[in-house]
C-alpha cells in the first residue's frame, strides 16, 4: 500500500523560473492496484515518479510504502522495493554486460550473497525459462551483450529484470513510447500479464488515453502538479476517450489543450 500525503516540489526556488511541479499532492494506492496516469507535457507525472523513487527530496509531504515512511530514504535503498522503467530503452540495462549478467544483477538483489558466483548453471536455466515466453528468441542468446539488442528487446529484458523479484511498487514512465506500435503492444500485454500474475501495485504513465482506460483498474489525470481527475470502478468502465475529454471540460471549465494526448487517444 502506497500513501502519499501533501507532496510538494518546487524547482528553481527563488528564481524567476520558479516552478511548482508538485502542489500538495495526495494519493493512496491499495495493495495490488494498477493505476494509469495521464496528463499533458510538463504536468508533473515524471516528477511524481522521481519523488516516489527518491531521485530528489521533496520540499514537504510524506511518502509511506507498506507502513514504512520512506520520505528521506536514499534512492538506492528504496530501489529494494520500488522498480522503475523509463521511456528510453537504453536506461534499464547495462549495454556491455550480457543478457544473463544483466538478469543476474537484478536477481541478486534479494536472493544472493555478495561474493558468491553471480551466474550459476541453475540461474541460467531459470533466466531461460523467463525469456522463452517473450517469443523473441532471447533464451538462445544468453551470452550476447545487451547493447546489441533492439529497443523493444531491451525493454522486454528490463521488464523482466524489474519484476523477477516482484517489487512492492512498479513505476512505468511511458515505457512503450519509444517502441514501434507492434512491439509497444507486445510489451504492454507482457506488462499486464506480469503485473496480474504477481499482483504488483503499479503506476503507469502513458499519453495514450485508450491504453490508460483499458489497462489497470484506476486512471488519474495530473495537471500542474495536481490530480484533476480520478476515475475507477463503474465510472471508468463506461468511459471512452470522448467522454473523458467532456468530463475534463466540465470539471475544469476549459478545453484539454493537449495535442499529444488527443493525437494518440483516438
Amino acid at each position: 500500500m502506497l500513501e502519499i500525503t501533501g507532496l510538494q516540489k518546487t524547482f528553481l526556488k527563488g528564481t524567476p523560473n520558479e516552478h511548482h511541479a508538485l502542489q500538495n499532492l495526495s494519493l493512496t494506492l491499495p495493495d495490488g492496484q494498477f493505476v494509469t496516469i495521464i496528463g499533458s507535457n510538463g504536468a508533473g507525472k515524471s516528477t511524481l515518479f522521481n519523488a516516489i523513487a527518491g531521485s530528489f527530496s521533496c520540499d514537504a509531504g510524506q511518502i509511506v510504502l507498506d507502513g514504512r515512511n520512506i520520505t528521506r530514504m536514499p534512492e538506492y535503498r528504496r530501489a529494494r522495493t520500488i522498480s522503475r522503467i523509463f521511456q528510453n530503452p537504453l536506461m534499464g540495462t547495462a549495454p556491455n554486460l550480457t543478457i544473463e549478467e544483466n538478469l543476474a544483477l537484478s536477481y541478486a538483489r534479494s536472493t544472493k550473497k555478495l561474493f558468491s558466483r553471480a551466474v550459476t548453471r541453475k540461474d541460467t536455466d531459470y533466466f531461460r525459462s523467463l525469456l522463452a515466453p517473450l517469443g523473441m528468441g532471447l533464451e538462445d542468446r544468453m551470452k550476447t551483450r545487451i547493447g546489441l539488442l533492439s529497443g523493444g528487446q531491451r525493454q522486454a529484458v528490463t521488464l523482466l529484470m524489474c519484476t523477477m523479484v516482484p517489487p512492492r511498487l512498479l513505476l512505468l514512465d511511458e515505457h512503450t513510447a519509444a517502441l514501434d506500435p507492434v512491439t509497444a503492444e507486445k510489451i504492454l500485454k507482457l506488462t499486464a500479464k506480469i503485473v496480474a500474475e504477481h499482483r504488483i501495485t503499479t503506476m503507469m504513465i502513458t499519453h495514450n488515453i485508450k491504453d490508460a482506460l483499458q489497462l489497470g483498474d484506476r486512471t488519474i489525470m495530473l495537471e500542474q502538479g495536481r490530480i484533476v481527475l480520478d476515475l475507477s470502478g463503474e465510472q471508468r468502465a463506461q468511459m471512452d476517450v470522448a467522454g473523458l475529454l467532456q468530463l475534463y471540460r466540465r470539471e475544469s471549465g476549459k478545453e484539454l489543450d493537449n495535442d499529444r494526448m488527443l493525437l494518440t487517444g483516438e
Partner: protein
C-alpha cells in the same frame, strides 16, 4: 637474448599497473590519475619495510597503502563531489609528501637487504637467479589475474562492472554505487602499488620519482593489449590482454632502444603520442567513416 628476458620480466612487474589502469579506465570508466602517486606509495612502503628486514610484509602493506590512496580518491569523487580527474591529481600530489616521509629521503638502496625472492634464490645455483625472478613475477601476476577474474564474476563484481556501464541502472537495482566505485578504486590502486612494491625489490632500490608519468604507461599497455587481442573483449580476456600489453610495451621499447631508433629520453613523448593517437581512433572514424582502421576502435565508436 638478454634484453628479451629482461623486457618480459619488466613487463610482468608492470603488469599489475596495467591491471589497475584497466579496472579504472575500462571497467569503471573513470580516468584515475591517482596511479602515479599510488605506484610510488607502493615503492616507498615496500622499500622502507625491505630495508627494515620485512620484504613480504612490505608487499602486503604496499597493497594496503595503494588501496588506501584509492579510497581517498574515491571519497573525493563521491562524498566530496570533486571531478574524478581533479580528485586523482589531489591524491597524487598529496602522496608525494607522504612518500618521501615513508621512505625517509628521495631514495634508498636495497642492494644489501633481503628481498621477498632472496631465500628462493639462495636455494638454487647463481645461474638460476633470472629464472627464480621470472617465476615469482609470473606467479604474482597469475594470482592477481585469477583473483580478479573470479571476483568480477561474483554478484558484487558484476555490480562494479555495471556501475561503469550504466550507473543509473545500478542505483535503480538497489546497489550503492558509491560503495562499488570506492571498492574498484581501492582494488585498482592496490594493484598499482603492488606493482611499485615488487619493482622496488627487484631493482634493488626505491626512488621517489619512479611513478611520474606512469598513468600513460598503464594506458599504453591496456591499449596495446587490446590491439593485440582484436579490440575490447570480455573481462577475463581483457585482464589477460592488459598483462600481455604490458609485456609487449616493454618489448617494443627495448627493441626500439636496441636498434637505436630512439634514446631513453624520448620514451615518454613516444608513449604519450601512441596513447593519444589510439584514443583518438574512435573519433577519427566517426569523422571519416570510410577510413579503415583497427577493429577495436570501430566496436566502441
Amino acid at each position: 637474448m638478454g634484453f628479451l628476458t629482461d623486457s618480459i620480466l619488466l613487463g610482468l612487474q608492470y603488469a599489475m599497473l596495467a591491471l589497475g589502469v584497466y579496472i579504472t579506465f575500462r571497467v569503471l570508466n573513470i580516468p584515475d590519475l591517482t596511479v602515479d602517486g599510488s605506484f610510488t606509495f607502493g615503492i616507498a612502503v615496500s622499500g622502507a619495510l625491505t630495508a627494515a628486514g620485512h620484504p613480504v610484509l612490505g608487499l602486503l602493506l604496499a597493497i594496503a597503502a595503494g588501496a588506501g590512496a584509492g579510497l581517498i580518491t574515491g571519497f573525493l569523487q563521491t562524498f566530496a563531489g570533486i571531478h574524478p580527474i581533479v580528485a586523482g591529481i589531489l591524491t597524487m600530489t598529496g602522496l608525494y609528501t607522504i612518500n618521501i616521509t615513508v621512505l625517509g629521503g628521495p631514495n634508498i638502496s636495497l642492494i644489501d637487504s633481503d628481498k621477498f625472492f632472496t631465500a628462493a634464490q639462495g636455494l638454487l645455483p647463481y645461474e638460476y637467479r633470472t629464472v627464480v625472478r621470472m617465476a615469482f613475477a609470473l606467479l604474482i601476476v597469475a594470482v592477481a589475474v585469477l583473483l580478479l577474474a573470479l571476483f568480477f564474476k561474483t554478484s558484487y563484481g558484476l555490480s562494479i562492472r555495471a556501475t561503469g556501464d550504466n550507473e543509473d541502472m545500478v542505483r535503480a537495482s538497489s546497489i550503492n554505487t558509491t560503495a562499488t566505485k570506492l571498492t574498484a578504486l581501492a582494488i585498482a590502486n592496490g594493484l598499482v602499488a603492488l606493482s611499485g612494491g615488487v619493482i622496488a625489490q627487484f631493482q634493488g632500490f626505491a626512488d621517489i620519482n619512479s611513478g611520474s608519468g606512469l598513468i600513460v604507461v598503464g594506458l599504453a599497455s591496456v591499449i596495446i593489449g587490446e590491439v593485440l587481442f582484436g579490440g575490447r573483449r570480455p573481462l577475463t580476456v581483457g585482464l589477460i590482454s592488459a598483462v600481455v600489453g604490458s609485456v609487449a610495451y616493454r618489448l617494443i621499447i627495448a627493441l626500439a632502444l636496441q636498434i637505436n631508433i630512439l634514446n631513453a629520453n624520448s620514451l615518454k613523448l613516444i608513449s604519450a603520442v601512441i596513447v593519444g593517437i589510439t584514443l583518438a581512433v574512435p573519433a577519427i572514424q566517426k569523422k571519416f567513416p570510410n577510413l579503415k582502421l583497427r577493429r577495436g576502435g570501430q566496436k566502441n565508436a
